[in-house]
Amino acid sequence: MKVLVAIKRVIDYNVKIRVKSDETGVETTNVKMSMNPFDEIAVEEGVRLRENGSAEELIAVSIGPKQAQETIRTALAMGADRGIHVETDDEVEPLAVAKLLKALIEKENPDLVVLGKQAIDDDSNQTGQMLAALVGWSQGTFASELEVADGKAKVTREIDGGLETIQINMPAVVTTDLRLNTPRYASLPNIMKAKKKPIDESSPADLGVDISARLATLKVTEPSSREAGVIVEDVAELVDKLKNEAKVI
């Protein structure tokens, strides 16, 4: 089995996001970037399939600027065999990402594609679903457990109010939820080995995909700051405020 994981370079989850003063987006210059945490989980799941013998090859794909190669190196240090970098400095919307991944699927013929359920920068939660639709594959989204055997994948999904276990035919697209696994840290010997693993470079034009934006961002603003609370004297005052001021009951 061949597994492909898609990874995105995003602002590190520890960084306090600052909105640009012209409200066109968030500040990314001199900001620490790292792999989208959900995608780390996808890579870890791929590495585990590789280690338990289910997969023979694990390919990590990233779409983005030159520096996305650093993110691919991280995946290679975790245990992916090789990388593919689709270089573009443009903002790539979920549909364009799905189209690029489709083009790569046609080239690489993987049996399973694993990706994060969403990226923590735009929280779109669309790429996996769009990709499954474009290639006509089964999909198992929000996975908290994944078992692959005999051409089928058993996916336990996190849904409102509990878990749902489905069995889908391969090839399939699986998107990861937080509890699927705990990603490993790359050891120094593996970081060194990753430097020697190959990364293929291509571009949206090479793959024949038009990535021009379909959406226009009008403006990006900070959430309004939270105002201080008040302490009420008694229950009656609380009920009165909820009813007449907040108008929620």
Partner: protein, 383 residues
């Protein structure tokens, strides 16, 4: 621009996040060794960074090693419990026989063998190491060791130790640094057979000891390199040690500066953040500038070392400037925190005590100044 080793740094940072202040506070109270932390760093392969690939290490230079240690300290952790596993092997690597290298280095790289103790200093001879009194006298195919060492750190957590001992009396040698030899001793076999270890409780949680040799017999094959040349062998490891310790100071300084900045932004007194006062801001900014300048010297020294250039002056200056910067930052951080800085739960007082050590170890600031005066400025030797 020089390589920053961001890939290595981010992995170290992620590992260190598993060992928060609470972990170190508990160890500090119990004066206990950070076994779990050391195990994690060992398993991650980070302590084998300097061992060549042919001996199963990562074969990287000192610049990469400084990135690792700096990152550990910047994360609020402390590498003192394991940094010597990185560099003590250097003496074996540079001067050991092929048989010794093949036998020990791969196991040191994997962590199966711990070589992180080095016996040089004695109660009656500190920096003046040519006056050591511990002797190792040849007797057939063995050496018999007698004497005493002090401030020998991590012996209780090491399988092997390097030992500097006199193999011929100081008076019999033309030069004072001749007649000393380096031995690689198997501590596991030596304990209770002539080696006694006695821990020394100290101001910080640092597993240091004094060790006693009483007719300890070691095989002649324990000798590293040639007999009588040991002092030269250990000297060339000292530049590496100074540069590595300097990077820990830079990491400490960064930790103090970040801790102080966060506190200054968040702590409100008289209805405003204390960080709005220049009286609070300026010492933080000054500490930052001092750290950034020292960092440049540490990087320069590491690059020179990696290029094989003589870097005695730079290694010494890096150590002094970085230790001064970390101490300045520590004092500033405690002052910024006011009374809360004394509360153990803020970790500031512990790091403050820990970083104070670097004014003294592994070489005191005065000796660095003497070195610069004598060897760089051509002033008369003052000691």
């Amino acid at each position: 621009m020089t390589e920053n080793f961001e890939d290595i740094r981010s992995s170290v940072r992620a590992l260190c996040a598993e060992f928060p202040g609470e972990y170190w506070r508990k160890l500090d109270a119990e004066k206990a060794y950070p076994t779990e932390f050391v195990k994690t760093m060992t398993e991650g392969g980070f302590l084998g960074v300097l061992i060549p690939e042919e001996y199963d290490g990562s074969g990287l230079g000192l610049s990469a090693a400084t990135a690792i240690l700096e990152e550990i300290h910047q994360s609020g952790c402390n590498a003192a419990a394991c940094h010597a596993q990185m560099y003590t092997m250097g003496t074996v690597l540079r001067h050991g026989s092929d048989a010794q290298k093949t036998e020990y280095l791969p196991k040191i790289a994997s962590g199966e063998l711990r070589l992180q103790a080095f016996g040089v200093t004695e109660p009656t001879s500190g920096t003046d190491a040519t006056r050591i009194k511990t002797t190792a006298l040849k007797d057939g195919d063995e050496y018999v060791v007698n004497g005493q060492k002090v401030w020998t750190s991590r012996v209780e957590h090491s399988d092997l130790m390097l030992l500097l001992a006199r193999t011929s009396p100081r008076e019999d040698n033309k030069k004072r640094h001749e007649g000393m030899s380096v031995f690689l001793i198997d501590i596991r076999e030596a304990v209770d057979n002539g080696l006694t270890i006695r821990p020394i409780p100290t101001m910080i949680n640092h597993a240091t000891t004094e060790v006693f040799f009483d007719d300890l017999r070691i095989p002649a094959s324990s000798l590293i390199g040639e007999e009588g040349k040991g002092f030269k062998y250990i000297l060339d490891g000292m530049n590496a040690e100074r540069i590595l310790i300097a990077s820990e100071c830079i990491g400490d300084a960064r930790w103090f500066i970040e801790k102080a900045s966060n506190y200054a932004r968040d702590r409100n007194v008289f209805g405003r953040a204390i960080g709005e006062n220049q009286g609070v801001q300026f010492p933080i900014a000054k500490a930052y500038a001092a750290m950034a300048a020292a960092d440049l010297m540490v990087k320069k020294a590491a690059q020179m070392f990696d290029a094989g250039e003589p870097c005695g002056a730079e290694a010494n200056m890096a150590k002094m400037l970085a230790a001064d910067a970390s101490w300045q930052a520590a004092d500033m951080c405690l002052q910024t925190h006011g009374g809360f800085g004394f509360a153990e739960e803020y970790d500031v007082e512990r790091k403050f005590r820990e970083t104070r050590l670097y004014q003294i170890a592994p070489i005191s600031t005065n000796l660095i100044l003497s070195y610069l005066a004598e060897h760089v400025l051509d002033l008369p030797r003052s000691y």
